[in-house]
């Protein structure tokens, strides 16, 4: 376990021996242990069906674990109400359509803070900030479900941001976003994380992981296979393959050049070219 330098020791979410089985007996989580500390920036990675989304849903009370425990800020999650949990762990669904139901973007983003009991003016203020952050001003009067995928995704993330949760838990937040939208989101998340907000991303995009995450939790078949910084996460190609992952192209290239003296844990093109030209490579 490598807590990020900026992270404190305060555990926000603590999972112990967590198990979850779907009806019909499919075991999605098997005896999983994980601590998330305040201020961390974590990427949860793994193939389709590895249990990432199930894990996320156990963290904010959408799913009741079949065994083990979830503690949120030291309290057993079973003893917390849904709004209490939502104030700490804000979850944006993988499929934004599972979350959108209001008739305008404005209403949608305002719904969360209203539902948490904030006054109308506070809710409006929080919603406004989130709408600005996700660049949705021009779409505010549109019905969310009429928007294209990337826009619906931004609305779903804004609705979560508007609740000001201590942990932003975003499930595949850049799926459907193009480069600009994705960079805008990452910039915003970076800023929030610098202010001490905890960010947990579930993602398939290994370049995103290498560029942004400080800690990588790698899953396969309901278990955590590796918990490391991104460099460590991309150094074991065999483990990555078993987890249905592949490191970014630059890391693959560094691995291929390993016996030429290139460090194999390179995670950016800058770094690789630096090693190639500075003369240490044989």
């Amino acid at each position: 376990m490598i807590p990020s330098p900026s992270a404190s020791q305060e555990k926000i979410v603590s999972l112990r021996n967590l198990r979850f089985s779907y009806e019909g007996g499919v075991e999605a989580l098997r005896d999983l242990n994980l601590d998330i500390r305040k201020g961390e920036y974590i990427a949860i990675v793994g193939g389709n069906g590895s249990g990432k989304t199930t894990l996320a849903k156990c963290m904010n009370g959408l799913l009741r674990p079949s065994g083990g425990s979830v503690h949120v800020k030291g309290t057993d999650a079973r003893k917390m109400t849904v709004p209490e949990l939502a104030k700490v762990v804000g979850y944006a669904f993988q499929n934004p359509d599972h979350q959108l139901f209001c008739s305008t973007v404005d209403e949608e983003v305002r719904f969360g803070p209203r539902n948490l009991g904030y006054s109308e003016s506070d809710a409006a203020r929080k919603a406004e900030r989130a709408i600005e952050a996700m660049n949705l001003k021009e779409l505010r009067q549109k019905p969310p479900l009429s928007l294209r995928l990337g826009e619906r995704r931004r609305v779903s993330i804004a609705s979560v941001m508007a609740m000001d949760p201590e942990v932003l838990l975003l499930d595949e937040p850049t799926t459907g976003l193009d480069m600009e939208e994705s960079e805008m989101l990452m910039k915003k998340l970076h800023a929030l994380n610098s202010e001490g907000r905890t960010v947990v991303l579930i993602t398939h995009d290994m370049r995103l992981v290498s560029e942004h995450a400080k800690r990588v939790v790698m899953m396969s078949e309901g278990r955590i296979m590796l918990d490391s910084d991104p460099r460590g996460a991309f150094s074991d190609l065999e483990l990555l393959r078993r987890c249905k992952l592949e490191p970014p192209a630059v890391t693959r290239l560094a691995h291929a050049l390993r016996n030429k003296g290139v460090p194999y844990d390179v995670i950016s093109p800058e770094e690789l070219v630096f090693h190639l030209v500075r003369g240490e490579v044989k």
Binding site: G46, S182, R207, E246, V277, G279
Partner: protein, 288 residues
């Protein structure tokens, strides 16, 4: 007859004041693999929907110019006339799957064309084998992984024996290995079976390894169409078009900046490795 021939095509969706396509000309030759690369809203999907007549027949709007698919002007022919020639696969496989078993799903199209039972079975087996899902016949499509579902959707399109396959960001929800598998299946289809492929993608990574030509799409226009080595060469330009450049292009461009020439361009990690071992490491170091 060319699979696709677009001449100065413009399309405006009803209720929109902007042209989704604004003067697009594009020829695709038989057996070619062409990738449309562009940001969200650039017009990629609109081009895909033109290929089987869903535009203008199922989506209202104003179509200008000439759009011919296998020689037929799309505006003058129905979607069903293109059904046996053009197979289309969308972003979300769930939006396309509805049967209880993989076999029914893949058989659905040709069954509706009253293909005889024996041939139907052959087609299903053929299509499942092509996408690497042999033996999945009795499985429920909904029990499959995202990558497998998307391959069922492709098999369902293939069982119609189309002459052209059109795919709109088929890998968008797949894990990295699922994406790789899918693209190697598409590459095989084109290499071994001569299927013409038109693919819309937002992510330039890996596109070079299977595309004959890459069309850079921006704001309803094709700003360049060229073999990947040329289309994907300049990372700054790709960024300007809203496309994240492949990392191998970034590496080549940084090496070029070092040596003050344009000598390096990499299409794949393998090619980059080979060149770097030979040229950069073999001859001392770049920039020396």
């Amino acid at each position: 007859m060319r699979p696709l021939e677009l001449r100065d095509v413009a399309f405006t969706y009803t209720g929109s004041s902007n042209k989704a396509l604004d003067g697009v000309s594009l020829d695709i030759e038989k057996g070619e693999f062409v990738t449309l690369l562009g940001a969200n809203g650039s017009g990629k999907s609109t081009i895909c929907l033109l290929c089987n007549g869903l535009i203008p027949h199922a989506t209202s709007g104003r179509l200008e110019g000439s759009a011919k698919v296998f020689g037929l002007e799309v505006a003058n022919h129905t979607v069903s006339e293109f059904a046996t020639r053009v197979g289309i696969v969308f972003q979300e496989p769930e939006s396309q799957l509805f049967c209880m078993s993989v076999e029914e799903e893949v058989a659905f199209g040709p069954e509706n064309l009253a293909v005889p039972r024996e041939e139907l079975r052959e087609r299903v087996e053929w299509a499942l084998e092509l996408v690497g899902l042999k033996g999945y016949n009795a499985r429920s499509p909904f029990s499959l992984s995202g990558g497998e579902k998307q391959r069922v959707a492709i098999a369902a399109a293939l069982s119609m024996r189309p002459d052209m396959l059109v795919l709109d960001e088929p890998a968008y929800a797949l894990d990295p290995l699922g994406r790789k598998e899918l693209y190697s299946v598409l590459g095989e289809l084109r290499r071994k079976h001569g299927v013409t492929v038109l693919l819309a993608e937002r992510d330039a990574e890996d596109v070079a390894s299977f595309s004959d030509r890459v069309a850079l799409v921006s704001k309803g226009r094709i700003v360049e169409i060229a073999p990947p080595r040329s289309a994907l060469r300049d990372p700054d330009r790709l960024r300007m078009l809203g496309v994240r450049p492949p990392q191998v292009s970034e590496i080549a461009s940084r090496l070029n900046a070092r040596v003050g020439s344009q000598k390096y361009s990499f299409l794949t990690v393998e090619e980059a490795e080979e060149t770097i071992v030979r040229d950069v490491i073999g001859r001392g170091n770049a920039g020396r």
